[in-house]
Structure formats: C-alpha cells, structure tokens
Symmetry: C2
Subunit: 276 residues, 2 copies
C-alpha cells in the first residue's frame, strides 16, 4: 500500500465549552462528508471565556482526554478561549495531532495586506493569541482585537432583533464605521450566526472571515498534506455528540449552530472527581 | 442572661454562582451593619442558570459546605437558581438555618392583590418555585413568570444603553405594556442593577420588588424573631470575599453590584476534586 493510499477510520474529535463549536463541526461535516466526527460540549462548565487561564487549561485537558479515550485521530479545539490559552499544553500532552481555531483563523487571514479587525471573548482578546499567530504568517498586517462579550449570549438566545444587534455592534465596532478594516475575523465560534448582521453593519464593505470555516479548511489541509489520514470510505461516517450536562438548551439551540437538528446527545462525566 | 440578650458573633454566610449575590450582601450590610458577612462566589462554574438540576444541587451543596467550614451562623442562598432547585436539600443537609431569595421574595410579595409578574433565569422560571412559594402566602394572587436570560450578561457588562435595554425589555416584557401587572418581582440578583430601567419601561406604573432587598428583610426578620442570634456588637464586623476563580472580572464588576469597591477576594478550591 502506498503512503497515499493509507487511511484511518478513526473519527475526528472536536470539543468546545458548549454549543459554539457546532459551527465548526457543521463546516467540517460539509467539507469532509466521509469523516466520522465526535463532538464534546462541556456544557456543565460553560462558558470558558471569563475563567482564569489555569481553570481553562484544566478543563481543556479533561476535554481532550475524553476525546482521546474515544479513539480519535485528531483533536480540534473548537473553542477560541482554549485555543488562545491552552493549545501548546494540549499539543505537548497528547500524542495525536491537536489543532485550534486560532491558528486556523490566522491561516485564513494570510493574504490580507492592510488592517484586520479581530473580535472574540475577553479572555481570547486579552491573551493576545490572535495577534501573535497572525503576525507569524502576515508580519506586516495591522491587527486590532476587540472583545465583544455580549455576542455569545445574544447568539445563544437566538436574538435576531436588528435594533438590539445594531446597538450592541455600535458599542463594539462603531469605531470602525468611518474607516473600516480590510476584514473582520470572527474569533469566536458563536459569531458566524451573525455573519449577515456584521455584513449589514458594514454595508458590505468589510470581508467577513469565519473561524469555523477556517478551521474546516485547516483540517482539510492536514488531511491533504498527510498529517492526518483520511477515512477509507468503507464505513458510513457517524456523528456523535457528548455533553457534560444534558440540558434542554443544548438540543434546542443546537440546530441554529449545527444547521441541522440533533436529536440525541449523551451525558458524560469527564473525571471521577465530577461525581456528586 | 435572658434569651433576648443572647448573641452570636459568628458571621452570616452568603453564596451565589458569581457576583450577582453581591446585591444581596449590599442590602444585608446596609440593614445589618453590625453583622460580619462571608461571601462566596462560585466564579469558576458561573452561571448556574442553564445547568441541570442535578448539577446545580451538587454545586450548591459544595458552596454551602464551604460556608459551614467558615463557621457561619446562617447560610443565605443568594442565587435564585439554587433557591429554586436546591433549597430543600440544603435545609435537610445542614444543621444551621438556611434561607433562600425565593422564600424572601414571596414574603415581600404578600399583600399584593391582583397580578404579579416575576422575572428570572430559565431554570428559576421553569422550576415553578416562585409560583409555589408565592401561592403559599398569597393563594389568590395571579402570578406569571417570564425568563429573561439576556439581562444577566447585560448587567455583568454594565450595559446602560437605553436603546439596547429597551429592545431587550420589549422582547420579554412588551406583553405587559397595555395591561401592566400590579408589581414586577426581580427574581434574579442581577436585575436590581436595572431597577431604573424597569421603572422607565413601565413609566412608573408598576411597583418593582427587588429580591435582594427582600432577602435582607427576611434575614432581619430571622434575627428579630430569634431564629438567628444577633452579633454582640463587641467586635467590629468584617466582610470577607471568596471566589473559586479569581478573575479581573470579579473585582472590576463587584463595585456595580456591591455598591462599593472590593479590593480583595481570596481564591478557594471547594473540593479536593477541583485540583488540577
């Protein structure tokens, strides 16, 4: 068997603090329809965005460890906060490949020439991780990051009122209206739900880069360059969903994030220490 | 010593999932200036509002257990979600008195005759706990509960834009504009931050009942009726703050909730299982 014929039927593992990573899973499922995917949402401890780095690292290691036990061939940290704070530690700690949405977003921003605006949670922004990753691939690009903490609850509640969204975007992005950046990188997996609203806010003058689509591109590249082997196509792909706290909210909100309904998610305990 | 002279210099313990309970502590500190108070905010696992009942109960027991170890004479569950879901279990499990903001809110609503609107988190509302508690003391009062999940992140971010708040209040409370209720009970400790906005939304036609002030009244009654003994007044009262995840956010937001700056909060681990 040639190296190019080698396959690996193990699933791809994705985790996030909650349901936001489903936007990444949705893009992955579209771009790589033959791959099985296991999703873990740590809904018992969501959100990670306002926790301390130490706590985020601990949670991320427990999440990745669960996916490792599911025999995945790749771990995607589909959580910008984890990617900002814990990715190097995950890469050191696990023998299988680990990738994060920030390196994926930075790759998607390569080719830009002038100014890039990045938006994310407070922890993602204060970590400086996007600026560091982007300047590795585009050293001369001006990067400005802005925390937009209200966009996550608005996305989770499915708010579509333009009056509210415009008011919130005014607070965070009003500073760009006179002199818009070349592109806006959505550095939080919840934000792709507002792609149309970002576009409307900037009257179509700013390119919108989704970190969810960027992550799917990044994984596709890992398969194309042989870092991860593709599914053989001999077994039908399966999508499995695990959460740490089964709530009505996960299943009811999942459709907006995943683009398709999810009827079943299994509740799991990440460590024996989480037992009551 | 007469029974009426008996005193107890142990502190009052208050816990909440995060910073919201500081509105309760603020009212307690105003109404009972001689009492020492210990505050615990479970900031590593905030918010509780969208967790399952089992998870909320587990967290509440760990929170109350921490306060018990601080040698408190009374435990105030200053979290509506915990009061809705876990209060009976806490009362059974702990030998010292335990009270919650829902029974306090119900007591404050006694005397109303017609219709009461209650607002809170999704879990608080879906628990039905406010309706049950209020109907114990006011059986003929019509009670309608509405979940307002966006108000917590708006309070935590310190949003004061009337355009945004009016838009959000329209979604949740617009149904009452034509035929307002007699009173609006703020069934979440974050909501007192928007007391002026609720008043403006209803053009002053609706009485606003804060569960934070109601809880302070309730504790004052427990002391007046002898269920809890008062501080002797011989030692200066102390206010102590503990959090499970020390973040910039707690100290920077605390002033808005507590009404005074908090310069120090000690980070604690609730159980040995929370160690990394």
């Amino acid at each position: 068997m040639n190296k190019s014929d080698a396959t690996d039927d193990r699933p791809i593992g994705i985790f996030d603090s909650g349901i936001g990573g489903l936007t990444v899973m949705s893009e992955l499922a579209k771009q790589l329809p033959d791959e099985s995917i296991v999703y873990l949402g740590d809904t018992a401890r969501v959100p990670y965005g306002d926790k301390s780095p130490e706590t985020i690292i601990r949670y991320a290691v427990e999440d990745a460890d669960f996916l490792k036990k599911c025999n995945v061939k790749l771990i995607v940290a589909a959580c910008n906060t984890v990617s900002a704070v814990a990715l190097d530690i995950l890469k050191e700690r696990f023998s299988i490949p680990v990738c994060g949405v920030i390196e994926a977003g930075a790759a998607a921003a390569s080719g830009l020439q002038k100014k890039l605006a990045v938006i994310g949670t407070k922890t993602t922004v204060s970590s400086g991780a996007y600026t560091r990753e982007i300047q590795k691939v585009s050293p001369s690009l001006e990067v400005e990051c802005t925390a937009c903490p209200l966009l996550v609850p608005l996305a989770e509640e499915g708010i579509v009122s333009w009056k509210i969204l415009q008011g919130v975007l005014d607070i965070y992005l009003g500073k760009y209206l006179e002199n818009p950046p070349e592109a806006l990188l959505l550095g939080c997996t919840h934000y792709p739900l507002f792609t149309k609203e970002f576009d409307k806010f900037f009257s179509g003058r700013v390119k919108i880069i989704s970190s969810a689509a960027a992550a799917a591109d990044f994984v596709e590249n890992l398969i194309e360059n042989g870092s991860v082997l593709p599914n053989s196509g001999r077994v039908p792909p399966e999508h499995s969903f695990y959460v740490t706290d089964t709530t009505e909210k996960f299943l009811s909100s999942a459709c907006r994030f995943f683009g398709d309904s999810i009827t079943q998610a299994e509740q799991v305990s990440l460590t024996i220490t989480e037992q009551f």
